[in-house]
């Protein structure tokens, strides 16, 4: 039989290789927060002729909006990110008139405006939502696995796997923000919460097998039971992820522009979630059950004692 559990430290290493660059980027660069969190205005216009971002920037700067970010895409669409420009305000009417004067008529595709204080409130809510989701799931798993020796162990292992996936996605978006200017918005938080749900969904299926095989004493040691369970569920885990990945890929390729990065976040999260439930979550159970961390620390302590001697 495939020995997945025996190679657990290689799987952990692979996870670290993926997570660490993201965390480094997160420390050095952080996340590019969208107006949902910082406040400001996102204005998407369809011009009647092609325009250069610089021209638009000049008009905005001349009207008192110097630090605006202007992007152009196909079909003469211009996307402007700027400080808050209130809907229905005289300032907005003035600016629209100035743009019309310079570039001719345009269609307003969308304008989103968020006040600065509201942005902070949304950021706090996002953190609370992620924390609440973790606690809710921890509680549910502890309850669902109440008949095992250590119900909280399963909950904690699932949460660690989930944090792994959150770290992968947040890290990837930090790097994407750095390289491509991709912003993190309220939809990103939605994606994150969905990933949390999916990651745990996937992990539970594996844990469920472990619970069943433990009850049946399917193998002599805990380690072997876990390995047996992971191998048994491997095909199912991969197939489920594949079907979800198929639908997400279709959305990524053919879906609208506005949800492209939302779908990308989900895609990264689902792949990471599948990996973590096979290669991390159940392995953590083994590490705990064998008291490997304990022994590792003891060895460290032992070495430290030996050094001065």
């Amino acid at each position: 039989m495939l020995d997945l559990v025996g190679k657990r430290y290689y799987w952990f290493l692979l996870s670290l290789l993926v997570i660490v660059p993201g965390l480094v980027s997160l420390m050095l660069h952080g996340l590019d927060l969208s107006i949902d969190f910082t406040g400001g205005t996102l204005w998407e216009l369809q011009m009647s002729r092609p325009v250069q971002p610089g021209e638009v920037r000049d008009v905005l700067a001349a009207r008192g909006y110097p630090d605006s970010i202007v992007q152009t895409s196909q079909d003469n669409v211009v996307l402007i990110r700027m400080k808050e420009l209130k809907e229905g305000s005289p300032e907005k009417a003035e600016l629209a008139a100035a743009l019309r004067e310079r570039f001719g008529d345009f269609t307003e595709l969308r304008i989103e405006s968020v006040g600065p204080t509201l942005g902070t409130a949304i950021r706090n809510r996002a953190v609370i939502a992620v924390a609440l989701a973790s606690l809710g799931i921890l509680a549910y798993i502890a309850w669902a696995f109440r008949n095992t020796n250590n119900p909280f162990l399963y909950g904690i292992a699932a949460i660690i796997a989930m944090l792994h996936d959150v770290a992968v996605v947040v890290g990837s978006f930090s790097i994407l923000g750095w390289l491509r200017g991709v912003e993190v918005d309220a939809l990103f938080v939605t994606a994150l919460l969905t990933i949390i749900g999916f990651s745990v969904h996937d992990t539970i299926v594996v844990f469920d097998r472990i619970r069943e095989n433990l009850a049946r004493r399917a193998a002599p040691t805990f380690e072997e039971i876990v390995n047996y369970s992971v191998v048994q569920t491997l095909v199912r885990s991969l197939n489920t992820s594949l079907t979800v990945v198929f639908t997400l890929l279709a959305l990524f390729l053919f879906g609208g522009e506005t949800i492209r990065y939302f779908v990308l976040a989900l895609l990264i999260g689902v792949i990471s979630g599948t990996y973590s439930s096979i290669f991390n979550a159940s392995q953590i159970l083994v590490v705990w059950e064998n008291r490997e961390l304990h022994r590792f620390l003891a060895r460290l302590r032992g070495q430290r004692q030996r050094v001065p001697a």
């Binding site: 209130k86 809710g136 779908v263």
Partner: protein
């Protein structure tokens, strides 16, 4: 008596037909008009429109209570109804915000102007006439056109003859004194009215009537405004019935006393934004600065209290968040989502059939049924479909397959162990069920939290996603357990598919030979 699998199957088929019938667009196959009114509700990002979050910014020292916020919400709702938007959303949010969504509305400047205006509460002298709630009036504090935007008082014209306006909207509220609510002095007031019965109604007139003379219809005199009101609360009269109690501020007491004592037996009208919301009859003079309005049912009492409270505060509102989506972006998104959904569904179907063969075909049938159920539910509940909501739906297609994958994996295992097909189906379901249940509940927990989070962020946009995913997960459990299982039972026990090739296995396994009666 046990229900046989084929009986369940017929029930499922009927349910599917019903769902497909609901799914069909418009009035297809609908001779009796049962489907009228059942449509897909498109969110703001799909059909275009405006979303605005207003925040109360009261002057220093003034607190915005839930009551005041609720009253302000009601005022805004009335204004929104005046804009002629179908399916608007108006919700209070947190302690001091109001969310307004106007799907399909195209004029953000007008919307902001109408919503942001501070509500003006007035009590007017109706010259003895009964004005039905809903009537638009001109008052000495300003013409109706002040509050109704730039359009030249469209509803002010019928107000020219209050009797005429009363007729279309209010067949029930006939000006019979018995039916109308009454105003009287608080029962506690020992001193009878009439001591200062100086019949000078002009005393309260602020602007000169000629300022409003260009507006059609009579100009009613404003006796007091919200600024004169100290407080309003639900209370009981001497008979123990629920009534609205109110208190006036010092200066206004005298003015109101003068007016009420000279108009006993006549109606007066409480007006918000130039629109009559209640027309109680003056039962007695009110000189103590406190009075009650009786003759309303519990709900009306509540609504009037909220109105008076928020009218008394007249809290200024500020736009803190707005989102305007043009119609072109929305249509483009719908087209793209449909393509993405079809491609996604096709890929999943192909994969399932290639990998699982016969069970794969069954899961695809179950999946199609699943899609028809979910979409029918979206129409019936109705769920407001947003772009992330559609993504949630398409995502749930992928997740719905999971339950089937779990069951088939178990089924294959049981067959490999040498069980008979019928036995393997039952065992497969039995063993797969705990995983399906636990994993889906954890997804549902996150959906609930998402729903809560969405309420404070993108409102319907994120909530739409949470709701569609939740419904999707719930229905997927049903289709996996009921639909797939029964399809398998009926098809597989029929004897047509005894060759294990159909299940992705190489004929009969060599290991433990299946016991004939197992």
């Amino acid at each position: 008596m046990r229900i046989k699998p084929w009986q369940t199957l017929i029930a499922i088929l009927l349910l599917t037909l019903a769902a497909v019938w609901v799914d069909l667009p418009g009035q297809t196959l609908d001779p009796f008009g049962w489907k009228s009114g059942i449509t897909v509700q498109q969110g703001l990002d799909l059909q275009g429109g405006i979303q605005i979050v207003l925040e109360a910014r009261p002057p220093a020292g003034v607190e915005v209570t839930q009551d005041v916020l609720q009253g302000t919400r009601d005022t805004i709702e009335r204004r929104v109804n005046g804009l002629g938007v179908s399916e608007p959303v108006i919700q209070t949010r947190g302690s001091n915000q109001i969310l307004v969504e106007l799907p399909g509305y195209r004029d953000p400047e007008q919307a902001v102007r109408v919503l942001q205006r501070t509500a003006l509460l007035e009590i007017i002298d109706t010259n003895g006439q009964y004005l039905a709630p809903g009537t638009i009036v001109n008052t000495t504090a300003g013409p109706a056109s002040d509050v109704l935007g730039n359009e030249p008082t469209p509803t002010a014209e019928p107000a020219a003859t209050p009797q005429a306006t009363a007729s279309p909207a209010t067949a029930t509220a006939t000006p019979s004194p018995g039916a109308t609510p009454g105003v009287e002095s608080t029962p506690a007031a020992g001193e009878p009215a009439g001591t200062t019965a100086s019949p000078t109604p002009e005393a309260g007139a602020t602007p000169t009537p000629d300022a409003t003379s260009e507006a059609e219809g009579p100009v009613y005199e404003t006796i007091i405004t919200g600024a004169d009101l100290q407080d309003a609360y639900p209370t009981t009269d001497q008979f123990g019935t629920l009534v609205v109690g109110f208190e006036l501020k010092g200066e206004a007491t005298r003015k109101f006393c003068d007016y009420t004592s000279s108009h006993v037996g006549f109606p007066m009208s409480i007006v918000v934004d130039k629109q009559v919301i209640s027309s109680p009859q003056i039962e007695s003079a009110i000189c103590e600065g406190r009075g009650i309005i009786s003759g309303l049912n519990a709900q009306e009492v509540n609504e009037l209290v909220l109105q008076l409270k928020s009218g008394a505060l007249a809290v200024p509102l500020e736009v803190v968040q707005s989102r305007t989506v043009g119609p072109t972006l929305g249509q483009d998104s719908i087209d793209k989502s449909i393509v993405a959904g079809l491609v996604g569904l096709g890929l999943v179907a192909l994969f399932m059939i290639l990998y699982y063969r016969l069970p794969g075909i069954i899961s695809v049938i179950a999946l199609l049924m699943y899609t028809s159920f979910v979409f029918a539910l979206f129409k019936l509940i109705p769920v407001v479909l947003t772009l992330p909501g559609i993504a949630g739906f398409i995502l749930s297609i992928g997740m719905a397959v999971d339950a089937n994958v779990l069951i088939f994996a178990r089924l294959k295992e049981e067959l490999r162990r040498g069980r008979t097909i019928a036995r393997a189906i039952e065992e497969g379901f039995e063993h797969a069920w705990p995983s399906i249940r636990d994993s889906n509940i954890s997804t549902m927990i996150t959906c609930a939290i998402l729903f809560w989070f969405g309420r404070y962020v993108g409102a319907t946009i994120i909530q739409g996603f949470a709701l569609t995913l939740f419904i999707g997960v719930a229905v997927s459990m049903f289709t996996a357990i009921v639909v797939s299982r029964n399809l398998l039972r009926v098809l597989l026990t029929s004897g047509l598919f005894h060759n294990l090739w159909w299940f992705g296995l190489e004929r009969r396994p060599a290991e433990p030979a299946p016991a004939p009666g197992d």
